[in-house]
């Protein structure tokens, strides 16, 4: 299973792609970071992988 992440360009916090898919647009969860992160920031192929495998990201 591929693990897809996005690194905040502002603070280097790494956010999992599945969390971004859940939130779609979110404040960076980094320490005192004001950046906004979006699922759309991921490359198209990564987004599609997450959307194609919802069973991988459900408990």
């Amino acid at each position: 299973m591929r693990i897809i992440t996005l690194t905040c360009p502002n603070c280097d916090t790494v956010v999992s792609g599945n969390l971004l898919e859940e939130e779609r647009v979110m404040h960076c969860p980094g320490y005192r970071c004001s950046a906004t992160l979006s699922f759309e920031n991921l490359p198209e192929t990564d987004r599609q992988y997450i959307l194609d495998h919802p069973d991988y990201f459900e408990l």
């Binding site: 591929r2 916090t13 790494v14 999992s16 859940e22 320490y31 991988y56 408990l59």
Partner: protein
């Protein structure tokens, strides 16, 4: 070498304490569990640390650790979201690790021996991964490792009914960057998690050696209240006495007492170490604080008997009762019911509390 500290999880076995804070911040001898892991990594020369966070308690961990500078390390946060397994957490660290070898340390685990030798031996060899092992009397409750003649791991069985050995995998792993390809090669288990044992098996099946290191000193997974109390006992046993606070004439103290310089033991109190007493604590007259007790900051105890317990802090205990083997959450008030009618216990108890009255 980098460090990865896993600080997610729900802490369900520590409710109600974890209803209001993450398990990694529960104090052991008045120091959060996670700080022991950071100090262990730092002692091994590892100062670039990625902290993997879940969905609960994220802000509290970040408020405590900040950017790491107060603890002499550099922290990068990695937000996993749902707890999709240890292997998923490890997979999320790929960009942070950036090709280096790295230590993975479960943030609620404690060891009393440094990981330095484990890290050094791993670095000297050509290993894909390493596991810390310990002998336990109940291996069927853990991941059990089978080793070859060279001491490398050839199999890990998760909670086997009939374990082949008593050597179990504890919460500290070492990985080379080869682990990320192995993570991609596994899929979620029946419980929906990406299992770290599957990753180890993938590496082993590919002929990549997995180093094993036996931990001889104590190890604690602080996942349950009784584990917190035992870890507290173990740390206090090893702690030095630093009685810097005020001990009034007429107070009776003996044994190792770690007394913060702003704490006071008043006349008529009896304190028997080993104990840890944090800042702005008052141990009033008529109080007995017995061995293996930690009293957290901003707490006042008067007339009570407290022994083998952890009081997390900001609490008032004035009930003339005996409290033993207890984990007492922040902001607790335990007063006397004397003078109140009808007679009986008056309780405001959170979900999942446990009382023996």
């Amino acid at each position: 070498m980098k460090g990865v500290l896993l600080a997610g999880g729900t802490g369900s076995r520590l409710r109600p304490i974890t209803h209001t804070g993450p398990k990694q911040l529960i104090p052991i001898a008045n120091k959060p569990v996670i700080q022991y892991a950071i100090e262990d990594l730092k002692e091994a020369g590892i100062t670039e640390i990625g902290v993997v966070l879940g969905t609960q308690g994220r802000e509290a961990v970040q408020e405590f650790l900040g950017d790491g500078s107060d603890l002499g390390v550099e922290i990068t946060y990695i937000v996993q979201g749902k707890p999709l397994g240890l292997a998923h957490a490890v997979g999320c660290t790929r960009d942070f690790v950036d090709g280096d070898d790295f230590v993975v340390y479960l943030g609620d685990n404690m060891l009393n021996e440094p990981i330095t030798r484990f890290v050094d031996r791993f670095a000297e060899g050509d290993y894909s991964a390493g596991v810390a092992l310990q002998r336990v009397p109940n291996p069927e409750q853990f991941g059990v490792a089978t080793l070859d003649e060279a001491g490398n791991v050839v199999r890990i069985d998760e909670k086997p009914e009939n374990p082949e050995s008593d050597l179990v995998v504890i919460g500290i792993y070492l990985f080379s960057a080869a682990v990320f390809d192995a993570v991609e090669g596994v899929t979620p288990s029946e419980r929906g998690e990406l299992e770290i044992t599957d990753v180890f098996q993938t590496l082993i099946d590919e002929g990549k050696p997995v180093y094993s290191h036996r931990v001889e000193g104590w190890w604690k997974d602080t996942g349950k209240p009784e584990d917190i109390l035992e870890a507290n006992r173990l740390v206090l046993d090893d702690a030095a006495a630093t009685a810097e606070g005020t001990v009034d004439p007429g107070a009776e103290t003996m044994g190792k007492i770690d007394l913060h310089d702003s704490a006071t033991i008043e006349a008529g109190a009896v304190v028997r170490g080993p104990v840890s007493i944090a800042e702005n604590v008052v141990i009033g007259g008529g109080t007995y604080v017995g061995p293996y007790t930690s009293i957290g900051p901003d707490t006042e105890i008067r007339g009570a008997h407290v022994e083998n317990s952890v009081v997390i802090g900001e609490s008032t205990i004035t009930a003339r009762e005996k409290f033993v083997d207890s984990l007492i959450g922040r902001g607790t008030v335990m007063e006397s019911k004397d003078g109140y009618l009808p007679d009986g216990h008056r309780l405001v108890i959170g979900e999942n509390s446990r009382l023996k009255l």
